[in-house]
């Protein structure tokens, strides 16, 4: 498994790539906030957000198809959560169906909520994809640190990034070793094997943690973490941040007015 699964295309170069990660992080969060706070019937605002995120995506020169695919991967989860809303929301009935013993009704306001959730989720996901595919994960971590996220949390994220694929590889090897000795057997026995594998993986990770800690201690780690400062907030960042901020604020103001 490759790391680039997480931040593919982040090593390319474009105006967006060159922005300070902090700028991108803050504007992304702000964008999501604006999207989430927009009332459902303001389709103009949603159109504006969409144009905005698409423009930035084009500027970043990340392949469009990749972005679409990636955004669709996450949609099933959203759909799963939102799909029942039209059936439970009360209001003007859009349709009524009889399924076996139940009478099921779909309401207009329910459909609107569903549409709204899907649109908001998709826009937010697009902006997050834009963020992760234009920023190296290590830079993202450093910017979180600069924004005063507790160092313990950025370290946990950093170790996760470093070791998640090491552990996945280990799990894959265990699976291969099991498959090459697996001659059928009941469901129950297979479940037990899987349980054993999870246990083994846990113990191995725990022991690896101890070895990694020893390696850190051997290089002078004493519980305090120190890093070099080398993020540069340039004028472009200021322009970008201010422009995007103004666009989003004006969109929100317009929303409130009408």
């Amino acid at each position: 498994m490759k790391h680039s699964f997480l931040d593919q295309y982040s090593d390319r170069d474009s105006i967006i790539h060159r922005l300070d990660p902090r700028t991108k992080l803050i504007t992304t969060l702000f964008f999501i906030l604006a999207v989430v706070l927009t009332p459902p019937n303001r389709w103009q605002a949603f159109a504006l957000y969409f144009i905005l995120v698409v423009t930035l995506l084009l500027l970043s020169r990340v392949p469009v198809l990749y972005v679409l695919k990636r955004s669709l991967v996450i949609m099933p989860f959203v759909v799963l959560i939102a799909i029942f809303i039209p059936f439970f929301k009360e209001g003007e009935v859009a349709g009524s169906y009889n399924i076996w013993l139940w009478q099921v009704t779909v309401t207009y306001s329910g459909l609107q909520v569903l549409w709204n959730i899907l649109a908001k989720a998709w826009l937010s996901i697009l902006s997050l994809i834009l963020l992760t595919s234009t920023t190296r994960f290590s830079n993202l971590l450093r910017s979180l640190e600069k924004l005063r996220l507790p160092r313990v949390m950025t370290m946990i994220l950093s170790f996760m990034y470093r070791y998640i694929f090491v552990l996945i590889d280990e799990a894959m090897r265990m699976k291969q070793a099991r498959d090459s000795r697996n001659f059928g057997g009941g469901r129950l026995r297979q479940l037990r094997t899987i349980g054993n594998m999870i246990g083994t993986l846990f113990i191995r990770s725990y022991e690896r943690g101890e070895r990694v800690y020893a390696a850190m201690v051997a290089r002078g780690f004493d519980g305090q973490t120190r890093t070099l400062e080398h993020l540069s907030f340039r004028q472009v960042d200021a322009y970008f941040g201010i422009t995007l901020g103004l666009v989003l604020i004006s969109a929100m103001v317009v929303n409130l007015w009408y």
């Binding site: 490759k2 790391h3 190296r136 994960f137 290590s138 971590l141 950093s158 170790f159 990034y161 470093r162 070791y163 694929f165 090491v166 690896r208 070895r211 990694v212 020893a214 390696a215 850190m216 201690v217 051997a218 290089r219 002078g220 780690f221 004493d222 120190r226 890093t227 070099l228 400062e229 080398h230």
Partner: protein, 239 residues
């Protein structure tokens, strides 16, 4: 000759009561390259962990004449650089640069110095240009080199390496041996790769079941087939 590391009657048992080292005595002098050989589970790694104070018991390990204790641990670790066996444990940062810089930053060097030390260490191991790569994507041979660089960047007096050629293909192994040969620094190398020992280390110490069995010139020790096979370092029945 100047004594760099001195171990006097070191005994150690793990918390579960299993004894790992018994009455180990050894002295390492400046400029030496010493091999620590022995079968699996002989206590080599445990001994190495004592050399820079990861494990430490009552002041029986002395570095430059100073007993290793809680107060001088950081100093000890800046003098004795320990490279672990598995580079996936040694390299824990998202990028190579951050990993090589980890030691110097902890030692409190300034940013300019850290950068200089990192560049120099990467130069020594021939890995310039890998700074922004993720350790996960490197080959094992590259990882081993970076792992050595992470310790060299701290400017240690002694380089202690656990099993440097384990799992490497012969090509990578010999290029690593050449690399180690070129480093002018005192080295302690734990290994059971006798080719490496012969090529690199004039002096060898055999450790078995936590005890020092032999300590002397590599040429003598490797010639003694009976000794080697008695301690799991050669075929059981020498022909």
């Amino acid at each position: 000759m100047e004594e760099i590391i001195r171990v006097d009657n070191l005994s150690f048992s793990y918390p579960d009561g299993q004894s790992a080292l018994t009455d180990v005595n050894l002295t390492i002098y400046r400029g030496e390259t010493v091999a620590l050989i022995g079968p699996n589970g002989a206590g080599k790694s445990t001994l190495l962990l004592h050399l820079n104070g990861i494990l430490h018991s009552n002041g029986v390990v002395k570095v430059f004449g100073r007993a290793v204790d809680d107060k001088n641990l950081r100093w000890v670790r800046s003098k004795v650089g320990l490279v672990f066996q598995n580079p996936d444990d040694q390299l824990f940062s998202p990028t190579v640069f951050e990993d090589v810089a980890f030691g110097p930053i902890n030692m409190g060097y300034s940013e300019a110095e850290v950068r200089k030390l990192v560049t120099r260490a990467l130069e020594w191991v021939g890995m310039i240009g890998y700074e922004q790569r993720s350790p996960h994507h490197l080959s094992l041979g590259e990882k081993k080199r970076i792992a050595i660089a992470t310790v060299l960047s701290m400017n240690p007096e002694v380089l202690v390496i656990d099993e440097p050629t384990g799992n490497l293909d012969p090509g990578s192994k010999w290029s690593l041996i050449e690399l180690l040969k070129g480093l002018e620094i005192t080295k302690i190398i734990a290994s059971h790769d006798l080719e490496l020992v012969q090529a690199l280390c004039p002096r060898a110490i055999i450790l078995d079941r936590g005890e020092v069995i032999a300590d002397g010139a590599t040429s003598h020790i490797l010639a003694d087939k009976r000794l080697l096979s008695a301690h799991g370092l050669a075929r059981n029945k020498p022909s």
